[in-house]
């Protein structure tokens, strides 16, 4: 792999962007998932929500255009697109829990083969709090995890999560730099593979049985 960290993240974000459907309302987590907004196919009108209180999230403003009262859920300055709207946190989580958010894209520390996800704390080490992640993973119609396949060489796709869970049986799709994995009744099913890797390499980096789709194709970003 010639990809550095930034290239890897962009590669994953590009592939996730192709999952977003025309007309959908989408919530992107902070970090890697935020990059997805940059790669939405031009023929698709996707609306982004930020759970601190807006739909129609646009790109970061120029310095000259910066409005301290418009920010995203990561606290970073953003703009609002024409046709967007501001609202309070109660309405925002009504959107999320009420199934109005079609897709949420989140990072994860661990994902289990039954769809369990852990992404909000490492006991004794990192306890930032779950923020909106528990509501998003239990409320959005489709939960996509966008993350690097391993952390320091250790698998993040597991038989069972060992960290405190964010949600049970929530994840439907995982996109990593190695491939695209569907979480279904079989467990993890590899449906697309990055041609830079072999199936054996992906399995070796995954700590749960990897079912190989009969229709496995090369990952296209």
């Amino acid at each position: 792999m010639a990809m550095d960290k930034q290239q890897t993240q962009e590669f994953i974000a590009k592939r996730v962007a192709r999952e977003l459907q025309h007309g959908e309302l989408v919530n992107l987590g902070i970090g890697l998932p935020t990059l997805v907004a940059n790669y939405v196919p031009e023929d698709r009108n996707v609306t982004f929500q930020s759970e601190n209180g807006m739909v129609g999230v646009g790109p970061a403003p120029d310095e000259s255009n910066h409005d301290a009262h418009i920010s995203n859920a990561g606290g970073m300055p953003v703009t609002i697109l024409t046709g967007g709207a501001f609202f309070d946190s109660a309405t925002s989580f009504g959107l999320i829990r009420g199934g109005h958010v079609a897709t949420t894209v989140l990072g994860a520390l661990q994902v289990a083969q039954n769809g369990d996800i852990a992404n909000y704390m490492i006991p004794g080490k990192m306890v930032p709090g779950m923020g909106g992640a528990m509501d998003l993973t239990s409320g959005a119609k489709r939960v996509i995890v966008a993350m690097e396949h391993t952390v320091k060489g250790n698998p993040k796709l597991l038989k069972e999560c060992t960290l405190p869970l964010t949600a049970v049986k929530a994840v439907k799709l995982i996109v990593t730099e190695m491939g695209v994995i569907e979480v279904n009744e079989k467990g993890f099913e590899l449906i697309e593979i990055n041609p830079e890797y072999t199936v054996e390499e992906v399995q070796a980096a995954t700590d749960a049985p990897l079912h190989i789709s009969p229709n496995l194709i090369d990952m296209v970003v």
């Binding site: 930020s50 759970e51 601190n52 209180g53 807006m54 409005d67 301290a68 009262h69 418009i70 920010s71 995203n72 859920a73 990561g74 606290g75 609002i80 501001f86 609202f87 309070d88 946190s89 109660a90 925002s92 989580f93 999320i96 829990r97 990192m126 306890v127 930032p128 709090g129 779950m130 923020g131 909106g132 992640a133 528990m134 509501d135 239990s138 409320g139 405190p164 869970l165 964010t166 949600a167 049970v168």
Partner: protein
């Protein structure tokens, strides 16, 4: 009824041991002038209800650094390392609540809802100590209401009757907290005469607001 008071009058009503709600989301839409005055006053042993604990030098985080809270109820503390330190060293009790449940618990407290059922947190550590209620075959967690003695909130504009208007993402927890405290004071960027905000454009009706103060620019 002119609800305007000074910042000094406002902070004089907040006592050691009070439970206090503070509006804002990562220090956007936070009543910074009231927070600064509370830091100066040094009121302590407070219980904080806030989405997050801001930053060490911005938002409610300044009061964390000043060690004014004995307990913090929030959805996220990751942007203020001092909160984490106080938690780890046992100086401050921290209760983490999923963001959507936190705002809904506050809404329940202010709107006469004795509790509500959500799936958020089912099967996670959040479930501990909570009643699971099955409705028509589906399990939910019962979440209880939250109220406070005092709410200190932000608005971009307030009229002298307490009607509030917001711009951008400043509404966040402010609008809901306005319903859920025994005494509600709002720091406005701009105070306008009654009538300057159309009844169609009022975001929070003044009947929820006890007092307003002019924020320091």
């Amino acid at each position: 009824m002119n609800k305007r008071i000074t910042i000094e009058e406002a902070v004089s009503k907040i006592k050691d041991g009070d439970t206090i709600m503070v509006g804002g989301f990562l220090a956007v839409g936070t009543p910074e002038s009231l927070i600064d005055a509370l830091v100066a006053k040094g009121v302590k042993d407070l219980t904080l209800i806030c989405n997050d604990t801001g930053f060490v030098d911005r938002g409610v985080g300044k009061m964390v650094v000043n060690k004014q809270f004995k307990k913090i109820i929030a959805s996220h503390i990751g942007t203020n390392r001092e909160t984490g330190r106080q938690m780890v060293e046992g100086e401050t009790e921290v209760v983490l609540v999923p963001q959507g449940s936190l705002v809904e618990k506050i809404r329940a407290g202010g709107n006469g809802i004795g509790g509500f059922l959500v799936k958020t947190g089912l099967g996670t550590e959040i479930q501990k100590g909570k009643e699971v209620i099955n409705v028509d075959g589906v399990d939910y967690l019962l979440k209880k209401p939250l109220r406070a003695d005092v709410a200190i909130l932000f608005a971009n504009k307030a009229d002298e009757n307490g009607n509030l208007w917001y711009h951008g993402t400043t509404r966040n927890f402010n609008t809901v907290m306005a319903t859920a405290a025994d005494w509600v004071v709002v720091e406005a960027e701009e105070i306008v005469p009654v009538g300057a905000i159309s009844p169609n454009e009022v975001v929070v009706p003044g009947v929820f607001v006890d007092n307003i103060v002019q924020g320091v620019k």
